[in-house]
Protein backbone atom coordinates (compact mmCIF):
# COMPACT_ATOMS: atom_id res chain seq x y z
CA UNK A 1 0.00 0.00 0.00
CA UNK A 2 2.68 2.43 1.09
CA UNK A 3 4.90 1.33 -1.76
CA UNK A 4 2.10 1.96 -4.27
CA UNK A 5 1.76 5.44 -2.85
CA UNK A 6 5.51 6.13 -2.87
CA UNK A 7 6.03 5.19 -6.49
CA UNK A 8 2.55 5.09 -8.03
CA UNK A 9 1.42 8.55 -7.01
CA UNK A 10 4.31 10.45 -8.65
CA UNK A 11 3.93 8.37 -11.84
CA UNK A 12 0.18 8.96 -12.09
CA UNK A 13 0.72 12.64 -11.38
CA UNK A 14 3.36 12.95 -14.10
CA UNK A 15 1.25 11.16 -16.68
CA UNK A 16 -1.71 13.38 -15.89
CA UNK A 17 0.44 16.52 -16.15
CA UNK A 18 1.59 15.47 -19.61
CA UNK A 19 -1.94 14.64 -20.68
CA UNK A 20 -3.20 17.89 -19.18
CA UNK A 21 -0.56 19.84 -21.07
CA UNK A 22 -1.61 18.13 -24.32
CA UNK A 23 -5.26 18.93 -23.63
CA UNK A 24 -4.46 22.52 -22.77
CA UNK A 25 -2.11 23.15 -25.67
CA UNK A 26 -3.72 21.12 -28.45
CA UNK A 27 -7.30 20.17 -27.64
CA UNK A 28 -8.75 23.26 -26.01
CA UNK A 29 -9.83 26.03 -28.42
CA UNK A 30 -8.13 29.42 -28.60
CA UNK A 31 -9.64 32.16 -26.50
CA UNK A 32 -11.74 34.85 -28.20
CA UNK A 33 -9.99 37.89 -26.71
CA UNK A 34 -6.58 36.61 -25.67
CA UNK A 35 -5.93 34.08 -28.44
CA UNK A 36 -3.32 31.41 -27.76
CA UNK A 37 -1.68 33.22 -24.87
CA UNK A 38 -4.43 32.30 -22.45
CA UNK A 39 -3.29 28.64 -22.52
CA UNK A 40 -0.88 29.35 -19.68
CA UNK A 41 -4.01 29.47 -17.57
CA UNK A 42 -3.94 25.65 -17.57
CA UNK A 43 -0.83 25.82 -15.44
CA UNK A 44 -1.42 29.12 -13.70
CA UNK A 45 -4.85 28.37 -12.23
CA UNK A 46 -3.94 24.96 -10.77
CA UNK A 47 -0.65 26.22 -9.29
CA UNK A 48 -2.47 29.20 -7.82
CA UNK A 49 -4.90 26.82 -6.16
CA UNK A 50 -2.10 24.66 -4.78
CA UNK A 51 -0.25 27.73 -3.54
CA UNK A 52 -3.21 28.37 -1.26
CA UNK A 53 -3.80 24.72 -0.37
CA UNK A 54 -0.22 24.14 0.80
CA UNK A 55 -0.24 26.92 3.44
CA UNK A 56 -3.58 25.55 4.67
CA UNK A 57 -1.87 22.22 5.27
CA UNK A 58 0.99 23.98 7.10
CA UNK A 59 -1.47 25.90 9.26
CA UNK A 60 -3.46 22.83 10.27
CA UNK A 61 -0.33 20.77 10.93
CA UNK A 62 1.13 23.60 13.02
CA UNK A 63 -2.03 23.91 15.11
CA UNK A 64 -1.92 20.15 15.61
CA UNK A 65 1.70 20.39 16.72
CA UNK A 66 0.98 23.15 19.23
CA UNK A 67 -1.85 21.12 20.70
CA UNK A 68 -0.37 17.63 20.68
CA UNK A 69 3.39 18.11 20.17
CA UNK A 70 3.52 15.15 17.77
CA UNK A 71 6.58 15.10 15.57
CA UNK A 72 4.59 13.81 12.61
CA UNK A 73 2.68 17.11 12.58
CA UNK A 74 5.97 18.98 12.50
CA UNK A 75 7.20 16.92 9.55
CA UNK A 76 3.95 17.58 7.69
CA UNK A 77 4.23 21.31 8.37
CA UNK A 78 7.77 21.38 7.03
CA UNK A 79 6.77 19.42 3.92
CA UNK A 80 3.81 21.75 3.37
CA UNK A 81 6.00 24.83 3.68
CA UNK A 82 8.49 23.65 1.07
CA UNK A 83 5.72 22.67 -1.32
CA UNK A 84 4.08 26.02 -0.62
CA UNK A 85 7.20 27.95 -1.65
CA UNK A 86 7.48 25.86 -4.80
CA UNK A 87 3.88 26.42 -5.88
CA UNK A 88 3.82 30.11 -5.03
CA UNK A 89 6.97 30.51 -7.11
CA UNK A 90 5.28 28.73 -10.04
CA UNK A 91 2.11 30.73 -9.53
CA UNK A 92 3.96 34.07 -9.49
CA UNK A 93 6.09 33.22 -12.53
CA UNK A 94 3.21 31.93 -14.65
CA UNK A 95 1.08 34.84 -13.44
CA UNK A 96 3.70 37.33 -14.60
CA UNK A 97 3.98 35.65 -17.98
CA UNK A 98 0.18 35.64 -18.24
CA UNK A 99 -0.10 39.25 -17.08
CA UNK A 100 2.39 40.78 -19.49
CA UNK A 101 0.46 40.17 -22.75
CA UNK A 102 -3.03 40.40 -21.24
CA UNK A 103 -2.75 43.37 -18.86
CA UNK A 104 0.41 44.84 -20.33
CA UNK A 105 2.36 44.56 -17.06
CA UNK A 106 4.52 41.91 -15.41
CA UNK A 107 3.32 42.81 -11.98
CA UNK A 108 0.34 44.57 -10.48
CA UNK A 109 -0.79 45.20 -6.91
CA UNK A 110 -3.74 42.95 -7.13
CA UNK A 111 -4.92 41.47 -3.80
CA UNK A 112 -4.51 37.85 -4.87
CA UNK A 113 -1.12 38.45 -6.44
CA UNK A 114 0.08 40.34 -3.41
CA UNK A 115 -1.22 37.70 -1.01
CA UNK A 116 0.66 34.97 -2.88
CA UNK A 117 3.80 37.12 -2.93
CA UNK A 118 3.55 37.63 0.83
CA UNK A 119 2.98 33.91 1.36
CA UNK A 120 5.99 33.17 -0.78
CA UNK A 121 8.39 35.44 1.12
CA UNK A 122 6.88 34.58 4.53
CA UNK A 123 7.41 30.86 4.00
CA UNK A 124 10.94 31.47 2.79
CA UNK A 125 11.46 33.15 6.18
CA UNK A 126 9.81 30.17 7.84
CA UNK A 127 12.18 27.74 6.12
CA UNK A 128 15.18 29.93 6.98
CA UNK A 129 14.13 29.86 10.62
CA UNK A 130 13.99 26.07 10.54
CA UNK A 131 17.55 25.92 9.20
CA UNK A 132 18.92 28.00 12.04
CA UNK A 133 17.43 26.17 15.02
CA UNK A 134 19.27 23.00 16.07
CA UNK A 135 17.08 21.82 18.91
CA UNK A 136 14.26 19.79 17.29
CA UNK A 137 11.62 20.70 19.91
CA UNK A 138 12.39 24.41 19.77
CA UNK A 139 12.48 24.27 15.97
CA UNK A 140 9.07 22.62 15.84
CA UNK A 141 7.44 25.00 18.29
CA UNK A 142 8.91 28.18 16.88
CA UNK A 143 8.07 27.29 13.32
CA UNK A 144 4.53 26.28 14.31
CA UNK A 145 4.05 29.67 15.98
CA UNK A 146 5.47 31.38 12.88
CA UNK A 147 3.16 29.43 10.58
CA UNK A 148 0.11 30.45 12.60
CA UNK A 149 1.13 34.11 12.56
CA UNK A 150 1.53 33.90 8.77
CA UNK A 151 -1.81 32.13 8.34
CA UNK A 152 -3.67 34.80 10.29
CA UNK A 153 -1.93 37.44 8.22
CA UNK A 154 -2.86 36.26 4.75
CA UNK A 155 -6.60 37.08 4.83
CA UNK A 156 -5.78 40.51 6.25
CA UNK A 157 -3.26 41.09 3.46
CA UNK A 158 -5.91 40.09 0.95
CA UNK A 159 -8.52 42.50 2.26
CA UNK A 160 -6.15 45.37 2.86
CA UNK A 161 -4.75 45.17 -0.65
CA UNK A 162 -8.25 44.81 -2.05
CA UNK A 163 -9.19 48.09 -0.40
CA UNK A 164 -5.98 49.67 -1.47
CA UNK A 165 -6.22 48.90 -5.15
CA UNK A 166 -7.93 46.35 -7.33
CA UNK A 167 -7.48 45.14 -10.90
CA UNK A 168 -7.84 41.48 -11.77
CA UNK A 169 -10.31 39.49 -13.78
CA UNK A 170 -12.67 37.19 -11.96
CA UNK A 171 -11.04 33.96 -10.85
CA UNK A 172 -11.00 31.38 -13.59
CA UNK A 173 -12.60 28.13 -12.58
CA UNK A 174 -14.39 25.50 -14.66
CA UNK A 175 -17.83 27.04 -14.11
CA UNK A 176 -16.92 30.46 -15.51
CA UNK A 177 -15.10 29.40 -18.67
CA UNK A 178 -16.23 27.99 -22.03
CA UNK A 179 -17.29 24.33 -21.63
CA UNK A 180 -14.65 23.23 -24.15
CA UNK A 181 -12.04 24.80 -21.93
CA UNK A 182 -13.53 23.44 -18.71
CA UNK A 183 -12.56 19.83 -19.42
CA UNK A 184 -8.84 20.50 -19.93
CA UNK A 185 -8.84 22.82 -16.92
CA UNK A 186 -10.35 20.10 -14.72
CA UNK A 187 -7.71 17.62 -15.90
CA UNK A 188 -4.94 20.08 -15.18
CA UNK A 189 -6.28 20.90 -11.73
CA UNK A 190 -6.44 17.19 -10.90
CA UNK A 191 -2.95 16.63 -12.31
CA UNK A 192 -1.38 19.42 -10.30
CA UNK A 193 -3.26 18.36 -7.20
CA UNK A 194 -1.66 14.92 -7.57
CA UNK A 195 1.75 16.54 -8.06
CA UNK A 196 1.08 18.47 -4.88
CA UNK A 197 0.16 15.29 -3.00
CA UNK A 198 3.15 13.36 -4.35
CA UNK A 199 5.61 16.10 -3.35
CA UNK A 200 3.99 16.56 0.04
CA UNK A 201 4.03 12.84 0.75
CA UNK A 202 7.62 12.37 -0.39
CA UNK A 203 8.91 15.34 1.59
CA UNK A 204 6.94 14.18 4.61
CA UNK A 205 8.59 10.75 4.44
CA UNK A 206 12.02 12.36 4.21
CA UNK A 207 11.18 14.51 7.23
CA UNK A 208 10.08 11.46 9.21
CA UNK A 209 13.29 9.66 8.27
CA UNK A 210 15.34 12.64 9.46
CA UNK A 211 13.44 12.61 12.73
CA UNK A 212 14.18 8.92 13.18
CA UNK A 213 17.85 9.68 12.84
CA UNK A 214 17.51 12.27 15.62
CA UNK A 215 16.33 9.42 17.81
CA UNK A 216 14.12 10.33 20.75
CA UNK A 217 15.60 8.00 23.37
CA UNK A 218 19.13 6.69 23.81
CA UNK A 219 19.71 3.10 22.86
CA UNK A 220 20.06 0.39 25.47
CA UNK A 221 18.14 -0.56 28.56
CA UNK A 222 16.89 1.91 31.18
CA UNK A 223 19.31 2.24 34.07
CA UNK A 224 18.51 1.24 37.63
CA UNK A 225 16.87 3.88 39.82
CA UNK A 226 19.34 5.53 42.19
CA UNK A 227 17.89 6.11 45.66
CA UNK A 228 19.21 7.63 48.84
CA UNK A 229 20.05 4.88 51.32
CA UNK A 230 18.71 5.41 54.81
Amino acid sequence: MKRALNIGLPIVALVLVVWGAYQGLAVAPAERMMGEVYRIMYVHVPTAMMSLLAPTVVCIASLAYLMKSTRAADALAEAGAEVSVLFSTLCLVTGSIFGRPTWGVWWTWDPRLTSVAILWIAFIGYLALRRFVDDPDKRATWSAVTAIIISVDVPIVYFSVKWWNSLHQMQSNPSTVDPRMAGPLRINITAWFLVFLALLWTRYRIGRAEQDREQSTPTGEPKAVLRMSS
Partner: protein, 215 residues
Protein backbone atom coordinates in the same frame (compact mmCIF):
# COMPACT_ATOMS: atom_id res chain seq x y z
CA UNK B 1 9.63 13.31 47.68
CA UNK B 2 11.72 16.26 46.50
CA UNK B 3 13.04 15.05 43.15
CA UNK B 4 12.07 12.04 41.08
CA UNK B 5 13.57 11.54 37.63
CA UNK B 6 12.20 8.69 35.54
CA UNK B 7 14.51 7.62 32.72
CA UNK B 8 15.40 11.21 31.81
CA UNK B 9 17.49 11.91 28.70
CA UNK B 10 18.41 15.08 26.90
CA UNK B 11 19.79 15.26 23.41
CA UNK B 12 21.99 18.24 22.72
CA UNK B 13 23.93 19.01 19.57
CA UNK B 14 23.68 15.49 18.16
CA UNK B 15 24.71 13.64 21.33
CA UNK B 16 23.13 12.67 24.61
CA UNK B 17 24.12 15.23 27.26
CA UNK B 18 22.06 13.32 29.80
CA UNK B 19 21.25 9.67 29.19
CA UNK B 20 18.71 7.55 31.04
CA UNK B 21 18.98 9.03 34.50
CA UNK B 22 16.54 7.63 37.06
CA UNK B 23 16.87 9.16 40.46
CA UNK B 24 14.89 9.61 43.66
CA UNK B 25 15.85 12.18 46.27
CA UNK B 26 13.24 11.92 48.98
CA UNK B 27 14.42 13.98 51.92
CA UNK B 28 16.27 17.06 53.01
CA UNK B 29 19.92 16.58 52.27
CA UNK B 30 22.97 18.04 50.61
CA UNK B 31 23.73 15.99 47.51
CA UNK B 32 27.15 16.46 46.01
CA UNK B 33 27.11 16.14 42.21
CA UNK B 34 30.44 15.44 40.51
CA UNK B 35 31.62 14.48 37.06
CA UNK B 36 34.17 15.47 34.46
CA UNK B 37 33.70 18.46 32.20
CA UNK B 38 30.88 17.68 29.81
CA UNK B 39 29.52 14.87 31.98
CA UNK B 40 26.11 16.57 31.97
CA UNK B 41 26.03 18.22 35.41
CA UNK B 42 24.74 21.58 34.19
CA UNK B 43 22.19 20.01 31.86
CA UNK B 44 20.92 17.75 34.63
CA UNK B 45 20.55 20.71 37.00
CA UNK B 46 18.71 22.72 34.34
CA UNK B 47 16.36 19.82 33.73
CA UNK B 48 15.60 19.55 37.45
CA UNK B 49 15.13 23.33 37.51
CA UNK B 50 12.43 22.89 34.76
CA UNK B 51 14.41 25.28 32.55
CA UNK B 52 15.19 22.62 29.96
CA UNK B 53 12.76 20.05 28.73
CA UNK B 54 14.11 16.51 28.70
CA UNK B 55 13.97 14.88 25.27
CA UNK B 56 12.41 11.87 26.95
CA UNK B 57 11.56 10.87 30.48
CA UNK B 58 9.61 12.38 33.31
CA UNK B 59 10.54 14.97 35.96
CA UNK B 60 8.58 15.03 39.22
CA UNK B 61 9.22 17.65 41.87
CA UNK B 62 7.42 17.66 45.23
CA UNK B 63 5.38 14.70 44.02
CA UNK B 64 3.87 16.38 40.94
CA UNK B 65 4.78 16.36 37.26
CA UNK B 66 7.00 19.42 36.98
CA UNK B 67 6.16 20.45 33.42
CA UNK B 68 2.43 20.46 34.19
CA UNK B 69 2.87 22.51 37.36
CA UNK B 70 5.56 24.98 36.38
CA UNK B 71 4.27 27.88 38.41
CA UNK B 72 3.85 26.14 41.77
CA UNK B 73 7.03 24.11 41.39
CA UNK B 74 9.25 27.02 40.37
CA UNK B 75 8.14 29.07 43.36
CA UNK B 76 9.94 26.52 45.55
CA UNK B 77 13.14 26.30 43.49
CA UNK B 78 16.26 28.37 43.65
CA UNK B 79 19.43 28.18 41.63
CA UNK B 80 22.91 29.51 41.12
CA UNK B 81 24.25 29.03 37.60
CA UNK B 82 27.29 29.97 35.55
CA UNK B 83 25.38 32.92 34.16
CA UNK B 84 24.65 35.50 36.82
CA UNK B 85 20.87 35.59 36.22
CA UNK B 86 21.04 39.29 37.09
CA UNK B 87 20.39 42.49 35.16
CA UNK B 88 23.78 44.10 34.80
CA UNK B 89 22.33 47.58 34.32
CA UNK B 90 20.44 47.43 37.60
CA UNK B 91 22.07 47.86 40.99
CA UNK B 92 22.45 44.94 43.38
CA UNK B 93 19.61 46.32 45.45
CA UNK B 94 17.31 46.85 42.45
CA UNK B 95 17.95 43.30 41.29
CA UNK B 96 16.99 41.88 44.66
CA UNK B 97 13.93 44.13 45.01
CA UNK B 98 12.76 42.87 41.61
CA UNK B 99 13.18 39.28 42.79
CA UNK B 100 11.31 40.07 46.00
CA UNK B 101 8.40 41.62 44.12
CA UNK B 102 8.12 38.86 41.53
CA UNK B 103 8.44 35.96 43.95
CA UNK B 104 6.54 37.38 46.90
CA UNK B 105 9.69 37.75 48.99
CA UNK B 106 10.10 40.39 51.68
CA UNK B 107 11.49 43.67 50.23
CA UNK B 108 12.40 44.76 53.76
CA UNK B 109 14.87 41.89 53.97
CA UNK B 110 16.90 43.02 50.96
CA UNK B 111 19.23 45.46 52.72
CA UNK B 112 19.92 42.99 55.51
CA UNK B 113 20.79 40.27 53.02
CA UNK B 114 23.13 42.52 51.08
CA UNK B 115 24.89 43.34 54.34
CA UNK B 116 25.14 39.66 55.12
CA UNK B 117 26.86 38.85 51.82
CA UNK B 118 29.26 41.73 52.46
CA UNK B 119 27.88 44.21 49.93
CA UNK B 120 26.29 46.73 52.31
CA UNK B 121 28.34 49.59 50.94
CA UNK B 122 27.93 48.48 47.34
CA UNK B 123 24.20 47.96 47.22
CA UNK B 124 23.65 50.95 44.94
CA UNK B 125 26.39 49.98 42.52
CA UNK B 126 25.47 48.68 39.06
CA UNK B 127 26.08 44.95 38.85
CA UNK B 128 27.98 45.54 35.59
CA UNK B 129 30.70 47.38 37.47
CA UNK B 130 31.16 44.67 40.10
CA UNK B 131 33.87 42.03 40.14
CA UNK B 132 32.95 38.44 39.32
CA UNK B 133 33.11 37.48 43.00
CA UNK B 134 30.85 40.34 43.99
CA UNK B 135 28.33 39.36 41.34
CA UNK B 136 28.37 35.87 42.75
CA UNK B 137 27.67 37.32 46.20
CA UNK B 138 24.59 39.08 44.80
CA UNK B 139 23.41 35.70 43.52
CA UNK B 140 23.90 34.27 47.00
CA UNK B 141 21.77 37.06 48.46
CA UNK B 142 19.13 36.25 45.86
CA UNK B 143 19.16 32.62 46.94
CA UNK B 144 18.76 33.64 50.57
CA UNK B 145 15.85 35.88 49.63
CA UNK B 146 14.05 33.05 47.85
CA UNK B 147 14.67 30.45 50.62
CA UNK B 148 14.09 27.60 48.15
CA UNK B 149 13.03 24.11 49.17
CA UNK B 150 15.18 22.75 46.38
CA UNK B 151 18.42 24.66 45.77
CA UNK B 152 20.42 23.82 42.66
CA UNK B 153 23.96 25.15 42.88
CA UNK B 154 26.15 24.88 39.78
CA UNK B 155 29.80 25.50 40.71
CA UNK B 156 28.86 28.00 43.44
CA UNK B 157 32.38 28.35 44.85
CA UNK B 158 34.11 29.55 41.68
CA UNK B 159 35.23 33.16 41.63
CA UNK B 160 34.63 33.61 45.35
CA UNK B 161 37.40 34.72 47.72
CA UNK B 162 37.97 32.63 50.90
CA UNK B 163 35.46 34.73 52.80
CA UNK B 164 32.92 34.21 50.04
CA UNK B 165 33.49 30.45 50.01
CA UNK B 166 32.89 30.36 53.75
CA UNK B 167 29.67 32.32 53.26
CA UNK B 168 28.52 29.92 50.56
CA UNK B 169 29.20 26.93 52.82
CA UNK B 170 27.26 28.59 55.60
CA UNK B 171 24.31 29.16 53.27
CA UNK B 172 24.33 25.51 52.18
CA UNK B 173 24.25 24.36 55.83
CA UNK B 174 21.52 26.84 56.60
CA UNK B 175 19.31 25.62 53.75
CA UNK B 176 19.92 22.03 54.84
CA UNK B 177 19.04 22.94 58.42
CA UNK B 178 15.80 24.55 57.23
CA UNK B 179 14.77 21.26 55.62
CA UNK B 180 15.67 21.95 51.99
CA UNK B 181 17.31 19.72 49.44
CA UNK B 182 20.55 21.14 48.09
CA UNK B 183 22.18 19.72 44.98
CA UNK B 184 25.71 20.98 44.79
CA UNK B 185 27.72 20.50 41.60
CA UNK B 186 31.40 21.19 42.09
CA UNK B 187 34.86 20.01 41.12
CA UNK B 188 36.05 20.76 44.65
CA UNK B 189 35.27 17.26 45.88
CA UNK B 190 36.81 17.60 49.33
CA UNK B 191 34.92 20.75 50.12
CA UNK B 192 31.76 19.22 48.72
CA UNK B 193 32.13 16.04 50.74
CA UNK B 194 32.56 18.01 53.94
CA UNK B 195 29.09 19.48 53.32
CA UNK B 196 27.27 16.59 51.72
CA UNK B 197 25.09 13.76 52.94
CA UNK B 198 25.18 11.92 49.64
CA UNK B 199 27.38 11.84 46.56
CA UNK B 200 26.00 11.50 43.04
CA UNK B 201 28.48 10.87 40.23
CA UNK B 202 27.87 11.45 36.53
CA UNK B 203 29.90 10.14 33.62
CA UNK B 204 29.03 10.87 29.99
CA UNK B 205 25.51 11.85 30.90
CA UNK B 206 24.80 8.73 32.89
CA UNK B 207 24.28 8.65 36.66
CA UNK B 208 26.87 6.18 37.92
CA UNK B 209 26.27 6.02 41.63
CA UNK B 210 24.53 7.64 44.57
CA UNK B 211 26.37 6.86 47.78
CA UNK B 212 26.20 7.95 51.35
CA UNK B 213 28.96 10.28 52.51
CA UNK B 214 30.49 9.32 55.86
CA UNK B 215 30.11 12.08 58.44
Amino acid sequence: MFVRLVDVSKRYGGRWAVARVSLELDRSAVVLLTGDNGAGKTTLLKIIATLQRPTSGEVELFGVRALDNLKSVRRRLGLITHQAHLYFDLTARENLLLVARLTGGDPQAVDGLLARVGLADRRSQLVRTMSAGQKRRVSVAKLLLQRPQIALLDEPFTQLDPGGVELMEEVVRELRGAGSLVILATHDIDRGKALADAHLTLAQGTAESLTKVAA
